[in-house]
């Protein structure tokens, strides 16, 4: 059962990596990274049970808590860039 689930997760990981490499826009890549993150959380939970050491779920918990910070940082990054562009167009 866990094996089937991890297989599904693996296939999805491959699909996400293809999307991350293919693009075309940068947002597609961010989306793929984010999806890859949740898939990693799932994989870690499944593998923790597969190995019979469920006390290692801390790892999945860590990812679940902090993985979305990088996406927020991406939003911040583009907001900053846009406001910088606005200022430079105002000056000229």
């Amino acid at each position: 059962m866990y094996l089937a689930a991890s297989f599904a997760i693996f296939v999805t990981m491959v699909l996400a990596i293809i999307r991350a490499l293919a693009g075309p826009s940068v947002y597609d890549r961010v989306l793929a990274v984010n999806m890859f993150g949740t898939k990693t959380v799932l994989l870690l939970s499944v593998v923790a049970f597969l190995y019979g050491r469920p006390d290692f779920l801390d790892l999945a918990l860590a990812y679940a808590l902090i993985n979305f910070i990088s996406v927020l940082a991406v939003l911040q990054f583009f907001e900053n860039r846009r406001s910088a562009e606005d200022q430079s167009t105002e000056k000229t």
Binding site: Y51, R53, D55, F56
Partner: protein
Amino acid sequence: MELLGLYNYWVFAVLLMVGFYAVIAKTNMIKKLLGLSIFQGAVFLLYITMDKVEGGTAPIIQKGVDAVYSNPLPQVLILTAIVVGISTTALGLALVVRIFEAYGTIEEDETQRLDLEE
């Protein structure tokens, strides 16, 4: 099957050299830094590969369970190295930022050209 046990080391070799290629062939400094962190990752992988023991589990001792444990020593070395790695990458990034502010470019050959022109 016997050879598959070496796969980790082959991936280590390839990753090491992919990172190295970025460091020596790319002129963009951020790219060089990313190559360096790939290089770093390859070394981490080599160490962690060595800690694995067949049928073992992570070296957190369970009382009353007769288990085989992996080697803790490489894990300790790499655990600290990861945090050191991100701090040194940040240091490199700071250098690149200052180089950009001084030269207006982060391409290595252009900064060299600007140096020669002076």
